[in-house]
Subunit: 439 residues, 2 copies
């Protein structure tokens, strides 16, 4: 039995088969449930999953299609939902005893959009505690001794194990790109505000992004297009959603120009990863661009904003709960309580400066190529270091993790591409070009 | 010699005369300069004024017109500019030794718009220190022993003394509506973001508003229309500017419904003002609406945001300058430095709640009627209490002060009307209706 693998059909393939009547939503969902029942006892990707409810959704979708009613682009496709996104049918407990048994009255905006597109909301995936660091039970399908990364642990692992073709997660520091890299799947964190966070656990409006996991870039485009768009309940969303699928079908007019950016945390990468990336940059003939020293404060700035905003949003709840929360989370809340308003405002101002500076670089290059994580998934429970994600979350830029390199024991190493703000569709086109070039 | 009065023609009248060639910009400007040379030795409204430069601008405008070139709606109209707005021709010292001798390279957005509309930038008016509390030399034209109010002291006094038909100021707490009330002129603080603050001294982006002073409502509409509009350098501005003049020319379709709102600071009004407003409400047959206790924290919330943002924006400069700044300003900076990020974020959140609550009230009423200030202008130097302005600044709602009541010694008492966000034009129409009804 292998713990990693792919669903028999990708989401794009299955959606096409279901649309033309060659496959039923029920059969495809059942295939996913079979894989889940086989691997879940060791991978622990799900926290709430009811096979009967999933099959009931699939049968209703089949009935809808058989009646000739219009169907959406995700018709009959099972999607795993990180357990910080409210669902009207499944509990939403945010990986924390503080939310134990919490049953939302309605779907969050992202899940509502998935259902409207015809998705089967198959179940809720394991998140670290409140999408912060304290790990859940999920193991890495490539090596059960290793972490899947966090905080979207279950979503990344479920896709890597072939339990579902698609899953959604969130990133406030490194919670989509890092687990995607550790689990060897495609992960996309689109530009800040591309997907509504309404009805999800809010850590920091300034930093929170909704992201996706899939086993192909085409599948990420399929689900991103269903998710993206304006929501009056999330003031950071924008009217126009990128045309992900159209961009992916295009060939870049000229070969994309990539900058190899090591970032000020390069020394946190392990020697294996450093060598792998230097070789990759050489092979692709990339210019190495080192960011000026001004960017060194970005990691502290992100920490200040995250600690303060999380404490603002649910610090009192954590404090009232006492030992119900991990020491890590309680320490963060204590830190958030100490932050001065001036330090917070300076961090927000600095973030705007980084956006402007990297925006300038991304006028010269189509994308930045940089590690998704410091190396392969580490052994043990700790979810690994998000240092290679922090700057791209703080600046709200779109980022993709591509499973293009291998390290120790055949474990995946993710290649991260970062694009200009709002240029998400072009970033996916550039990523596709790179995958084809190296594949 | 009277210290208060009106320019021989209003701005609206003069602009029409100049446009049809019956009056020259030079003659109108000279009339203003004559009034200034007569009263300035006692009123002290201006800090920078060069009569030759003002006349040179007027002559250039006359020449432009005589050549048949297009002219703007303020062609040949002298305007006083509070000395926190950058001007390329006059120094901008912000009423503080810290900015002594500071000569900007270019006009701020508001002044650039006035020049584009044909205004004569006649000179810079006295501001309190950094538009905060420490007073400048200006006296109230109605009674030289009294304050003109602050922080836009010189602008209000210059219009009240008939030195200029129009002037601009700014409000972060009560700096337009209060001096307008004390000086017995019309003052308008439009909805937050209606007029760009780019190139003005920024105290707090969340609280700063640009406002105007005039001796008639028609004149406020004339200058507001020239000032309002989108500026890419001020992210709070909006694409569509209200049609102030058109609204003012309309009759309300039905008599406007006003709510008499005493606000939680009612006990800060003096007994004379309380009686005057209770009589006015009775005469107009208004319902008295008392805001719930939730609003009591608004004054502290505004203080937290103002202290923090001012310290963020120029606290380090104040600290480096030591005794160059007043104790009041240094104390505010010390307070801003102590504020925690959580208190600041809570204040910002509370402000959004007040906006929602008062927005609900303004669906039932066309406008709120409430005092502009606690009473007539007090004697002495202190610029008076802005308590009756704080809530309307924090919520960013449009406010007008109308010189409709009189108090002790014939001193003016301002009637404040507050409208719904973005409904500035309708608020002016309602104000005009009230002026006509009581006039």
């Amino acid at each position: 039995m292998t713990h990693s693998g792919k669903t028999p059909l990708t989401a794009t393939q299955a959606a096409a088969e279901i649309a033309r009547g060659a496959l039923s939503a029920e059969d495809y969902t059942r295939a996913c449930l079979d894989r889940i029942s086989e691997l879940e006892p060791t991978v622990h990707a799900f926290i709430h999953l009811d096979p009967d409810h999933a099959l009931a959704q699939a049968r209703a979708l089949d009935e809808r299609r058989s009646k000739g009613q219009p169907i959406g682009p995700l018709h009959g496709i099972p999607v795993g939902i990180k357990d910080i996104f409210d669902t009207a049918d499944y509990k939403t407990e945010c990986g924390s005893p503080l939310h134990k048994g919490r049953q939302p009255a309605r779907d969050c905006a992202a899940v509502a959009r998935l259902r409207a597109a015809g998705a089967v909301i198959i179940g809720k995936t394991v998140t670290t505690e409140c999408a912060y660091f304290h790990p859940g039970a999920t193991r890495n399908p490539h090596d059960l001794e290793r972490t899947p990364g966090g905080s979207s642990s279950g979503s990344a692992a479920a896709v890597a194990a072939g339990m579902v073709p698609l899953a959604i997660g969130s990133q406030t520091n490194g919670s989509v790109i890092r687990p995607a890299a550790f689990c060897g799947v495609y992960g996309v964190k689109p530009t800040h505000g591309t997907i509504s966070r309404h009805g999800a656990l809010i850590l920091s409006k300034a930093l929170d992004h909704v992201g996706v996991f899939a086993n192909t870039l085409a599948d990420t485009a399929l689900i991103l297009e269903a998710l993206a768009g304006y929501d009056e309940n999330d003031e950071d969303t924008r009217p126009q959603a990128p045309e992900f699928r159209k961009a992916l079908a295009e060939k870049p007019p000229t070969p994309p120009k990539l900058a190899f950016v090591r970032t000020p945390v390069w020394d946190k990468a392990d020697s294996e990863a450093r060598t792998a990336f230097e070789n990759l940059a050489k092979r692709l003939g990339l210019a190495t661009v080192d960011l000026p020293d001004d960017y060194k404060a970005a990691w502290d700035d992100q920490r200040v904003i995250m600690a303060t905003d999380m404490t603002h949003n649910f610090g009192a709840l954590v404090e009232r709960g006492g030992d119900a929360s991990s020491k890590q989370l309680r320490d963060l809340v204590a830190e958030g309580r100490q932050t001065t308003a001036l330090r917070y405002l300076a961090a927000r101002d600095n973030a705007r400066r980084y956006v402007a500076g990297i925006g300038g670089l991304l006028k010269q290059y189509d994308a930045i190529l940089t590690p998704s994580a410091p190396g392969v998934a580490p052994k043990g429970n700790a979810t690994g270091n998000p240092a290679f994600n922090t700057l791209w979350t703080l600046t709200g830029l779109p980022a993709v993790s591509l499973p293009l390199l291998k390290g120790e024991g055949g474990m995946p190493i993710g290649v991260q591409l970062v694009g200009a703000a709002g240029d998400d569709a072009r970033l996916l086109r550039t990523a596709n070009w790179l995958v084809n070039k190296l594949g």
